[in-house]
Symmetry: D2
Subunit: 337 residues, 4 copies
């Protein structure tokens, strides 16, 4: 941490700051200059947070130099983490594709879509049984019945199931049905939920919030990791910006940034990110080219009748074509898909 | 709803759209032009959502013309809603000030701050017992003990207590201690929590999320209202933008916008909005001048030692001065404070 | 400037950095710690820019501690700057209101509006003769004819004229007609224009760009000041965010921030900031309550026929009412209007 | 255009609106419903702008249904436009790479870098002679001398020259030296400059502004096209968002969106978009995978000594590796590079 002092600081204020640093068990390093003086405090850990100093008189501003997350950082763990889900490896050489409907609508349709995505090369099945909806008047999901259909689809296709966990009280239910617990974008700073998901020791997929910085995203991952659960998959799904020609602005920059700052696998959800079918495949290709370890794609065999997110779902034939293109990109950068 | 058709639409596609509108019980109104054709669908309600049409072939785009919220709208209720909390009225002539520490830290300090803010003219006491923190290594709140101290402060000062509800399982506990359930910015789209808070029939204060549009904010309020609970107070607390000279960008535009679109009382939290002590009072004045029905202000008698948000807390003397200035502004626009 | 070194830095890289600092005439201050080492470089001036070090091997990151603007800063000049325009003082006790149509449309209308705003208490007249329009097919302004009408309105009413300068080649023309040269939001980083406007030594009003940070805004002001022209007025007019219920997000936080960081007068343009007539007056009141030194308001006596920005123009009666309310707010904070 | 009427509209107001539509030469199409009435106005062109109606009493809101740009749209021209620059084709099968230093610093260095990028496969040379700099104290470019060096580099390598045009008065100079006139992000709404650049009939490369929507970007292109100059290349270079782990947020979504809405070639500048060297190559790969017609890359043989933008410049060896990877991606999607 670096403390820049005000030119007008009094001797008493300075002594007070120096004493506080020493009380916390650190040694202050002073650098006096013509225009201002800085105090370096090195070797700090989580105990020494910026806000302890921010409010002290005589301080111009405080700059953190160590990262606010530890377990999620590349410094903590140099090699890539591989999260294994029933034999499917996230973070390895192969680009993993998770596909399926936005929400589980009925048994027959789910089983049909599961078979379609499996045949086209998907390795995991997605589908929401509980849906967070902006409007209280929209379809809210089938609940446990949806989970049962997902499990049945798993039995038939062998595809592990990724499904959303919306609240702590759903955990006892979901651990019986899900292979990966998905934490949605709207819950990325629901810290209780993150901790409880961590305690399950199950693979957890975190979706970046629409206004979450990369740093905050890794701090949310830290909540899960801090429970001893290292099976965390990060998912970029679009941030909110002024641009309105896409539903969100899929932030592919986050892919190389996250891969640099963290050892965790990073996947991308272009379906929610752009929200418009015809842009999904180009952005899926781009995500893999940027270095993503996987993709999460919505597929529906009758998007017009879909009870949620129809406009962004790929048709089965679109998905098959996307898989061909994504595989070509993966090979071009020395990976498989 | 207005459906703009693609110039290339086929007759079959058009018939399909027209039939769907009729199946839903509405009459399509066609307007053919040289360059494009539009179909008006009027009288729709929540059942007729845009997404049912968005995915249909032959459609250029769909424009909603009715608002996605009903109970929260001025159309539904013309006169201002007044939410009464133990005799304190939000939404009336008087500008209500809620003040107190960010989080409850210890009994003696809370009682002292409560007395200070009461003496300066605050009408409600704030203080968090459960704190959502970005880092798992930060202070997370005193829990039930904090709630007990808040209740005790209420007994001594008579100030009703506003405190944050973070998850559904805390409801049975909080209803015994809180006068107003605060839903934090990070939970504004935690729809389960909104519904359950609605069911308590207690006053609920909703803080706008950092990337929540005004429209989405009102849709979140709709979740509470849809449970038959009309005691909802809206609170603007800053949105996330590119500007980094303040912690968030306090969006005072939202005050006249919300007062126009909705009948619900609107308050402003400049402390979290700007995050820097010296800017809190000017923005508190501005909020009242813009038409806010109240303010939520962090006050601490030793901000340097505060376990959270010290840099943005007003000192007791700052708060007293702020109250004088806010009252002058309130009078200038024909209100009390 | 503070340079944080990579833990993996080699001795050679370190020597290279130290030598570079010395070559530039400064003394490096090293602080070694367990986890990282920082180098403080104090007393630097503009010559020592971050980017000279950013690209050097062995450096984790570089933090600037001195501000990138000098002449615009409060450190450079403690007391408020007052910009005088034909007897009207920006930055003094009185809140100055500039009002008039968005663009000059015809002589009779301009003269009528000028009289209306003068009678209601405005102290300056606004009106664009050259209009930057997003679409090449929109009305682009009357040009020199518009300037002549503005001058005539000045003769009749005595109100100094504020009008937009769009390009360097317009300067010889505008200096004959304008009392204040306005640089529009879209030109805030048109650095040539800023320098040339500075050279005129005329009062210059800078409108913040829609994505300009406060820091960049002051750096743009620095371009004008660096030409020896200290007659600079800053104008907040809304930034671009995700929120779409207003045209832009008027950032009133910028008012106390700019007044703290700089000695220059700060005014606010709520008309462009919100873009919707009914929100202009509440935001005008809020701007003054936040500490703005003035307002810039669009007024039109027939907004429906206005060739630009009709929906945000106040009617004469609205403007008269706004002036009454703004004066009350000004008095409440100990100022005049 | 669709006009949604207020439920409270009076008969007189309605007649007034209807008359105005007729006066403009169009026929109103009314659709009355239980809750509201809409009026469709079809066949309009640029003359019928939203703002003519926005300010009329009785109107709830106005929705544009035709696009505000014509010549730039796919509707106007179905097939891809190919912009040819001295034999290099933008918008064809081959992905074109423009490379070179941010600014021209000295003759020897420029010639060396030009040779390096040519050998690695670049097809155009970039380099700024006039530099827009946020700070008045930063290096501002070599001016005409820089242009001479660029021309000399062209003679030696054969690479056409892309260089920035900052103001109208530079046009007579630049047309003698440049092969492509680049309009920078900060000038994207400098409409005079756009028009004058259009009049030169030279190829013009437009860089999207940091807060320009895709729609506004195309409206700026329309300014150039409206002068009869169809040689326009669009360049995505990052938008401003809340995320600060990259310098800007490179918005690759804009690539498929622009290719869908417009026939103009689209290239991407990841160097300015991310601002950090190690993220440039992954984003260059992703841009091509998303469908970009070209790339613009900063290369410097001694970034540490670069007078501008050193931290984002690729070293020659990085650039060679990037070209190999980009070519592999191009082949994977059936293109060349």
């Amino acid at each position: 941490m670096i403390i820049t002092l005000k030119p007008s600081i009094t001797k008493k204020q300075l002594n007070h700051i120096v004493q506080k640093i020493k009380d916390l068990g650190f040694a202050p390093h002073m650098s006096k200059g013509k225009m201002s003086t800085i105090v370096g405090v090195i070797g700090e850990n989580a105990i020494l947070t910026r806000e302890m100093f921010d409010a002290m008189p005589g301080i111009e501003f405080v700059t953190a130099i160590s990262k606010p997350y530890k377990l999620a950082s590349r410094e903590f763990k140099k090699e890539d983490t591989i999260v294994e889900v029933s034999g499917v490896k996230f973070g390895g050489k192969k680009v993993v594709v998770i596909a399926g409907p936005c929400s589980v609508e009925d048994r027959a349709r789910l089983l049909r879509i599961a078979k379609i995505v499996k045949d086209a090369g998907a390795q995991c099945l997605r589908g929401g049984a509980f849906k967070p909806r902006t409007s209280p008047y929209s379809f809210q999901g089938l609940g446990e019945l949806g989970l049962k259909y997902l499990r049945e689809a798993n039995k038939i296709t062998g595809l592990p199931v990724v499904t959303e966990l919306m609240s702590v009280d759903q955990i006892p239910l979901l651990i019986n049905y899900a292979d990966v617990l998905q934490i949605g974008a709207r819950n990325i700073q629901n810290f209780d939920l993150l901790k409880e998901a961590g305690k399950t020791k199950m693979p957890v997929m975190l979706k970046r919030g629409m206004s979450t910085t990369v740093k905050e995203f890794l701090m949310s991952a830290e909540y899960v990791l801090s429970q001893g659960n290292y099976k965390v998959i990060l998912c970029e799904r679009g941030i909110r910006t002024f641009e309105d020609s896409t539903r969100f602005t899929l932030d592919l920059n986050a892919v190389p940034v996250l891969k640099t700052l963290s050892h965790l696998p990073v996947i991308v959800d272009p379906s929610h990110g752009v929200g418009i079918r015809k842009y999904v495949t180009p952005m899926a290709r781009a995500a893999v080219a940027a270095g993503a370890d996987g993709l999460m794609i919505e597929v529906h065999n009758d998007p017009e009748k879909a009870l949620s997110d129809g406009p962004q779902s790929l048709l089965p034939s679109d998905f098959e074509q996307m898989m061909i293109e994504v595989k070509a990109i993966a090979r071009a950068i020395g990976r498989d898909a």
